[in-house]
Subunit: 324 residues, 2 copies
């Protein structure tokens, strides 16, 4: 923790966190049990019956000074991840949280329902499902790092993800168990977040894109712009008209054509973008390789050129007059 600062200091006017959203559920008729929480403490009687708060989420805000973003910029993580994916990169560089704070945006990171500091109280009892936990090996191919495994270490030509063994382990350590049955709770919690924060720019990655599209459709007066980084899914086709007033930027990385899943996911994204345009909306699609930006994995905000892509996002936001 003693390396010299690579960047100038930043002034924060305010920073902090809160939990938001969720609902009450009641449990009755389960047997009490005795729990020794800590060795050397005293046993406590734990009655599991009562009221639980389920489906809340965690938000962490930092407000720089001076402030140049017209409104808060919300960073929504992908599945199996938390807000930490926008902080320091796995190889120790400043992340997108830093990038946008340094440009005067109020930045709000979140841990969505069931993940990170949101906690998974009464999930899966309320939602069903079992947690999916990733091996060290699993995302290597799925996130388009290389053809084999992290142990063999071969990466795609020009790969920008910091795929050295130490950085890969740092990345895997930040992955958290994931349920696939919490989408309704999560969308509701994002809505509660938007109600609390007010008009915002939403920058969403992967599964976060699924929630961002739908949140924009449900809260179109609050989501003022959408930046979707490799969104895993689309909005609802029947509500496409709600997106007419919300400018959208979609960004895709490299190595998609040879992937098993991403050609189909991207094609559906582009078809949805076309439908939004037909409904009077504005959608820009950036395939990074077509701009000469090569080597990006699915984890664009962690890739070595993460600042270059962030600068592209910043330029787009400036052009939308959301920054002054």
């Amino acid at each position: 923790m003693t390396q010299p600062p690579a960047h100038p200091p930043i002034a924060l006017a305010r920073w902090g966190s809160f939990h938001v959203g969720g609902h009450e559920t009641r449990v009755a008729s389960e047997p009490p049990r005795e729990v020794l929480f800590t060795p050397g403490s005293a046993p406590a009687r734990l009655d599991p019956n009562g009221t639980y708060l389920v489906g809340g989420m965690y938000a962490q805000f930092m407000v720089p000074e001076p402030r140049r973003g017209a409104m808060p910029l919300l960073l929504w993580h992908g599945g199996g991840l938390t807000g930490a994916c926008w902080e320091t990169t796995p190889d120790g560089r400043e992340g997108w949280q830093h990038f946008f704070l340094r440009r005067g945006w109020e930045v709000v990171l979140t841990d969505a329902v069931e993940r990170g500091r949101a906690g998974w109280t009464r999930i899966p009892e309320e939602t069903g499902g079992t947690a999916v936990t990733l091996t060290l090996e699993n995302p290597w191919a799925r996130f388009r790092i290389g053809p084999g495994t992290p142990q063999d270490g071969r990466v795609f030509d020009g790969q920008q993800f910091p795929a050295d063994p130490a950085s890969w382990r740092n990345f895997i350590r930040q992955c958290v168990p994931r349920f696939t049955t919490t989408d309704d709770l999560t969308l509701a919690a994002y809505g509660a977040l938007l109600d609390r924060v007010g008009p915002s720019v939403v920058v969403a990655h992967s599964q976060g894109g699924f929630f961002a599209w739908r949140a924009a459709q449900e809260w179109p007066g609050t989501v003022r712009a959408l930046v979707l980084v490799e969104p895993a899914s689309t909005g609802v086709m029947e509500k496409v008209a709600a997106l007419a007033g919300i400018p959208v930027l979609m960004i895709y990385g490299d190595y998609i054509e040879d992937d098993l899943r991403w050609p189909a996911i991207r094609a559906r994204g582009l078809a949805f973008a076309e439908a939004v345009r037909a409904a009077g909306g504005h959608v820009d699609v950036v395939d990074l390789p077509a701009r000469g930006i090569r080597g990006n994995s699915h984890m664009i905000q962690m890739d070595r050129n993460s600042d270059e892509v962030a600068a592209l996002v910043q330029g787009w936001l400036v052009a939308r007059e959301l920054w002054r």
Copy 2:
């Protein structure tokens, strides 16, 4: 998010996060399954066999400028909680993270193994046990807020915890499921943190005190001072000599005498403090009511007078010459 700042801005030289600790474990011979991670995405084949990283933890650092603390100040949360318990209080005030940053300390918050952004990969498969999840009602009496339930709302005379219904719900929403079988993993991860951060002051609450005592005994050259806020347990009696060179401050709140569990927990803490002194160590014990500071619950860092107690800690650190 538009209320005026109640405090002046702060300058950060650096901030960010990392994961640390944990070990590899291998799983074989489990059947693969197909997972549709996001509706409208493409199904993925998930092979649960392979290498998992288990028992890592999350750390989040902020380095103010100018820096006046002699070394980083690590804030270790209690059981069922995360690093968020040191951030904004449930009623929206600045927490101890803010207090110590504003006094020039580098502050490191952590989410210990299995909790928050640490994730619970292969817990409980590795450790056994089932998660304990708290009701809205449970900690009301156990954390010494009032005699009944949050629904009846009666609090102990002079109670400092912000126990209005909205704040109590904010507090409960930050509680996360908790295993009671992860102590060994957690202590090892705290050790990895200490190895990475280097000489530090450890400020620990409740269950965090159990880990702090033991970490100080295992890494006595790295833990340079201990501040234990209602520690739930003690160190190991056989290793009491390791604590001789580490000044310790223990703090207890109000309403202990009439509690079911805290008289015994505090008595064991005081007996251990006596043993440390007998081994040549320095332990100060502060019962807040004896200092005229009344009304503190178990969640001292969230109580309305949290800054007053933080100032007492700061004074003690200054007297130890750990701040300049």
